[in-house]
Amino acid sequence: MNPFEYSPALESTAIVEIAERYNLFIDGKFVTPKSGKYFPTINPANEKVLAKIADANATDVDLAVGAARAAYSKVWSKMPAAERGKYLFRIARILQERAREFAVLETLDNGKPIRESRDTDIPLAAAHFFYHAGWADKLQYAGVGIQPRPYGVVGQIIPWNFPMLMLAWKVAPALATGNTVVLKPAETTSLTALLFAEVCQQAELPNGVVNIVTGAGVTGADIVNHPGIDKIAFTGSTEVGKLIATSIAGTKKSATLELGGKAANIIFEDAAIDEAVEGIVNGIFFNQGHVCCAGSRLLIQENIHDEVIEKLKVRMAHIRLGNPLDKNTDIGAINSAAQLAKIRELVTAGGAEGAEQWSAPCEIPGEGFWFAPTIFTGVSQTHRIAREEIFGPVLSVLTFRTPQEAVEKANNTPYGLSAGVWSEKGSKILWTASRLRAGVIWANTFNKFDPASPFGGYKESGWGREGGRHGLTAYLKASN
């Protein structure tokens, strides 16, 4: 028994007011859905209903697209770029002002630890608006000709793992480049997007520039298939990404897709071992492992395997799983029952295929959806847990003998979103980084994000980049 058990340190929820029911945000106003339907959203940490969310149907989507089109042609595309930028600056500032409110709401709706929503999601979301605000009047320098043009109305569909941050990744560049937006948050995590609608009102953003329609996959399909949409931006599973690619075939719609991954995290024998262990933990257990770029395939040089695993287990024993509102929580709740079931299925498969499971000793709360941080050793490339995205706090550990073998194994996947490499030898870092077929390489670090840094995948991890100049160009057409 540790005498220094940290007492509960709960973030207060008094700062957020959650309505009983949320409507759609179309043309600057909250409107009841034509569908007349609402669905519940729950707190995954206790399974209690937080609110009812409007379920938009095709008519609702049509209204939102119409509002976005009108705002595009009448207001947003005609506004001087510098003025457009100022709205984004305003939004960035309001997000900073209301940061704690957003963080608490995010944690309630998503289940992620308050430390992460407070220190990562919301500050980064604000930073994305601030960064892109400055681009608005400098688009002629973005490398797509001297008079780049927006697409028009962009349909944006975002996932549940970083609800507010993904909204910022999508909305900020779209608005900075002069597009208007119809955005659909994930059905389990709509609340911060709806709070963002309030921010748009406070910023006096012209009506219709941002429209938020809530709903499930069907609503997303309505957006993708709407003829008034000029461009799709989607973050989510590779499976849905392929459906979108199929849906827009033969149309003039373009798409950016940020999809799944099965990132290798390569630990060479000459790594800074202790920081590598931190990187492993951060790589797979950040945000409950609900991260498309998570370092879910650990590749350890065989001659240091035992040492690394021993240190990893010691470190994992310190991971604090529990109430996401507790400021000392490291691992919060799994976002939904469905996701938990998926994690369990793959973990069962891992055991059945002969890999050895070890889970950190932590107490699992009685209600809510939880999964203890888990590693599988003795995994080989043929195992399902080495190939399929688990999207949970589950790490598959493999070994390699030479740098060549590490790279071969790392690249041996249809995905190509991210990868990690740990070595204190500079030339080996560059050698490895240049051979890894992935869009983001974290060398001696992992899971770092920044609005100035392009993010996006090779191969089946997606199309295009988000962030930086490269991400900006995804929302611009060349002037010819």
């Binding site: 590779t238 392929k242 459906l243 075939a249 249809p414 983001v440 100035a452 191969k459 199309w463 930086g468």
Partner: protein
């Protein structure tokens, strides 16, 4: 004293495929007839099959590691070498284009000259495209962060029709200068300059398999190309809108990047077949 019989019979060229640096016939044994602009038979190029496509992709994939790892300077020199050889073969290509496309000697000559110049233009991009499209990114934290474009892998090219040499050269040079390898399906009615150009490639220090040329039916090969899981991208400029749509649907299976170009001379032809890689590294002591 050289004496040529007045009734000498010309030795005609057999137009074959170009796969992995060799000139095989189609494994199917099929050919199709190409007519000149007046409708007279010109040649019987191979009618490539899906298995020829498969072999070409294997050759292209095999060549990718080496070609993409070659220095940009080296790739630029090889493309420039191809331009030199193309200049030297001008007369042959002018004659071919006149017969095939029915163009005047002036137009055909101009097309060849422009093709030479286009190759030189792309050759020069090899060691500049990363400078233009790459960046260091000022992230908020103690990290060095840089983005650089990298070749995407194996690209299938459906070359656009007339001007057939120029389109072929522009597409191939844009795709390959960055380190990609290619399988080109020559424009169905105008395949001869592509095969003649393959003879240039075969003698220009271009590693075997970097560029592979198939002749035959686009409508037959497009579905196999679009669904081939080891092709990373398609330049679909030569496909019809209907073929394009079908290719986009089939290509979604591995999220192929499928592009269509109108300009022969644009850095987009290079960048559309590159992926941006971003690398983070801490800055510390």
């Amino acid at each position: 004293m050289i004496a040529v019989p007045a009734n000498r019979i010309d030795v005609l060229k057999t137009y074959k495929l170009f796969i992995g640096g060799a000139f095989p016939r189609s494994e199917s044994g099929r050919v199709y007839s190409i007519k000149d602009s007046k409708g007279n038979h010109l040649a019987n190029p191979s009618l490539a099959s899906r298995k020829d496509l498969r072999d070409a992709v294997v050759a292209a994939r095999g060549a990718f590691a080496g070609w993409s790892a070659a220095t940009a300077y080296n790739r630029g020199q090889i493309l420039y070498r191809m331009a030199e050889l193309l200049e030297g073969r001008s007369a042959q290509l002018v004659a071919e284009l006149m017969a095939l496309e029915g163009s005047t000697k002036k137009l055909a000559t101009d097309q060849v000259k422009e093709s030479v110049d286009l190759l030189v233009w792309y050759a020069g991009w090899s060691d500049k495209i990363s400078t233009i499209a790459g960046s260091t990114n000022p992230v908020s934290g103690p990290y060095y962060n840089f983005s650089t474009p990298e070749p995407i892998g194996v690209v299938a090219i459906f070359a656009d029709a007339k001007p057939s040499l120029l389109n072929f050269v522009g597409a191939v040079a844009g795709v390959c200068v960055s380190g990609n390898t290619a399988v080109v399906i020559a424009a169905e009615p105008f395949p001869l300059p592509a095969i003649t150009f393959a003879e240039i490639m075969a003698t220009s220090d271009l590693p075997a398999g970097v560029i592979n040329v198939l002749t035959g039916s686009s409508s037959e090969l497009a579905p196999w190309t679009a669904s081939h899981m080891d092709i990373d991208a398609i330049d679909a400029s030569g496909l019809t809108p209907k073929q394009l749509k079908e290719a986009q649907i089939a290509g979604a299976a591995n999220l192929k990047r499928i592009r269509v170009h109108t300009d022969a001379k644009t850095p987009e032809r290079i960048l559309n077949y590159m992926e941006t890689k971003t690398v983070w590294h801490p800055i510390g002591i």
